[in-house]
C-alpha cells in the first residue's frame, strides 16, 4: 500500500506527520518505506537520519543538434512546433535548445525529418537511498538551477517500488498543486492531505483537494495546528469544497502545540518527546490505514 502525504502549501506540517507515521508503522512491525519526493527541499532525512549508501544520478534525455544536417534541411522548424515547453525553438535560421526546460519526451526527435537531433543525457538530480533504522529510505534531490523535478520523483518512486507486497510506503510529496505534486501522488493508493488550519492553509488546501479530486485519487485530510480560530468555525468554510461536500473525510485534528514546534526546531522527532503528539499520530495511523484499506478494497 502506498500512501502519499501532501499539502497545499509548505510549512503545513507535512514532513513532521509523514515521518511520524512512517516511524510508528515500522515500530508496529510493518515493512515500511519512506520516500522523500519533496525533491526541491527534501528534509525528512533531518529527522530520520538515514544511512545513505546508494546514489543514482537522474538524467533527462535531451536533444542535441547537428547544425550542419539541420541547415542542409533548410532549418525546417518542425522540432520547435513539436515541443510544448519551448525547450527547442526555431528562431529564423537557428535552432536553440534549452536543456533546462526539456521534459525528455522525445517529440522533437520524432518530428525531425532530417535526423539532425539525437538524445544525450542531461543531469537533473540524484536519488539517494539506504536505511533509517527499520525504515527503507530514499530521497530525491533536484540539482540547483534545474526545473525538472518530475523525472527525479519518478526515479524515487521506482526505487520504492521494489517493495515487499505487504509493506507500507509513505511518500512525502512536494507541497502545492503543480507537476511535481501530481507526479509524487500518481500511483498512490491513498493520499493524506495535511491542512494547516489557518486561512492561508485552508485556501491552499482547497486547491490541493480539487487537484486530488481531478486526479481521481482517494484522499482524507488531517487538520494541523488547530486553534480557537478554526474551532470557532471561521475559515473552515473556505476549505469548502471537498470537506463540506463530504468527499474528503477529516481523520484528525491536531492542536497547535508549542512543544511540538520546539522539538521540530531542534531537529527532533516530536513523537519522541511529546507524548500527546505521539498518541495523536498513533491514532491517526490506525485510522488512516483503516480508511485507506477500505477505499483500496
Amino acid at each position: 500500500m502506498r500512501i502519499a502525504v501532501a499539502s497545499g502549501k509548505g510549512g503545513a506540517g507535512k514532513t513532521t506527520i509523514a515521518t511520524s507515521l512512517a516511524v510508528i508503522a515500522a515500530e508496529r512491525g510493518l515493512t515500511t518505506t519512506f520516500l522523500d519526493c519533496d525533491v526541491e527541499e527534501p528534509n525528512g532525512h533531518l529527522f530520520l537520519h538515514p544511512a545513505l549508501c546508494q546514489k543514482q544520478v537522474v538524467n533527462v534525455p535531451v536533444p542535441q543538434l547537428d547544425e550542419k544536417t539541420c541547415r542542409d534541411h533548410g532549418v525546417c522548424g518542425r522540432c520547435g512546433q513539436a515541443c510544448h515547453f519551448s525547450a527547442i525553438v526555431c528562431l529564423g535560421d537557428v535552432v536553440v535548445v534549452n536543456p533546462d526546460l526539456c521534459h525528455g519526451c522525445g517529440a522533437c526527435i520524432l518530428a525531425c525529418p532530417a535526423n539532425a537531433l539525437k538524445e544525450v543525457p542531461h543531469r537533473t538530480g540524484v536519488v539517494e537511498s539506504g536505511q533509517a533504522g527499520a525504515l527503507r529510505f530514499a530521497q530525491g534531490l533536484l540539482d540547483v538551477g534545474q526545473a525538472m523535478a518530475s523525472p527525479v520523483i519518478r526515479r524515487v518512486k521506482e526505487w520504492g517500488a521494489q517493495e515487499v507486497p505487504a509493506g507500507l510506503t509513505i511518500v512525502d510529496a512536494p507541497p502545492g498543486t503543480a507537476c511535481p505534486t501530481v507526479e509524487a501522488v500518481r500511483g498512490s493508493d491513498f493520499v493524506l492531505l495535511v491542512v494547516e488550519a489557518t486561512p492561508f492553509g485552508l485556501h491552499d488546501a482547497a486547491l490541493a483537494a480539487d487537484t486530488l479530486e481531478a486526479l481521481g485519487v482517494r484522499a482524507a485530510a488531517v487538520l494541523n495546528r488547530v486553534d480557537r480560530f478554526v474551532e470557532a468555525g471561521r475559515g473552515i468554510t473556505e476549505f469548502g469544497g471537498a470537506i463540506l461536500r463530504g468527499t474528503m473525510p477529516v481523520l484528525a485534528r491536531i492542536p497547535a502545540d508549542r512543544q511540538v514546534a520546539e522539538a521540530y526546531a531542534r531537529g527532533q522527532m516530536p513523537i519522541g518527546v511529546v507524548p500527546r503528539f505521539r498518541q495523536a499520530m498513533e491514532r491517526l495511523l490506525t485510522r488512516l490505514l483503516e480508511v485507506a484499506r477500505r477505499e483500496a478494497a
Binding site: 515547453f85 519551448s86 525553438v89 526555431c90 528562431l91
Partner: protein, 115 residues
Amino acid sequence: MKVAISASEPGMSASVDPRFGRAHCFVVIDLESGALATSDNTISQSAAHGAGIQAAKTVVEAGARTVITGKVGPKALAALQAAHVDVYQCSGGTVQQAVERWWKGSLTKVTAATV
C-alpha cells in the same frame, strides 16, 4: 530594419512594458517604411515556463533585428543572441520616446541577463 519594443498596448504612445518574456505585446516598427505593427504576446504571458523564449520567437518571426525592453532573462537573451537580435535596455516612457532614445544612441546594449 525592424525594431520591436515591449509595450503595454499597441501604438506609439503605449508605455514600454518593463518585462520582455511576459510583455503584453510588442510594437514592431519598420524603420524603412515607417510601418507600425503589433505582435501579440499572450501565449508567452500565460506560459508556465519558457515565456522569454516564446517571446524571442515572436519578435524574430516579426522580423525584428533589435529589441528594446526593460528586463530580459538569461534564456531569452541567449535565444535572441543566437538569432542575432540586439537588445537595448529602456526603463519607463512611451514606445515613441524609447525609439527616439535608441536612435540617438542613448540606450545601453544588453550583454548579460538583467533578471
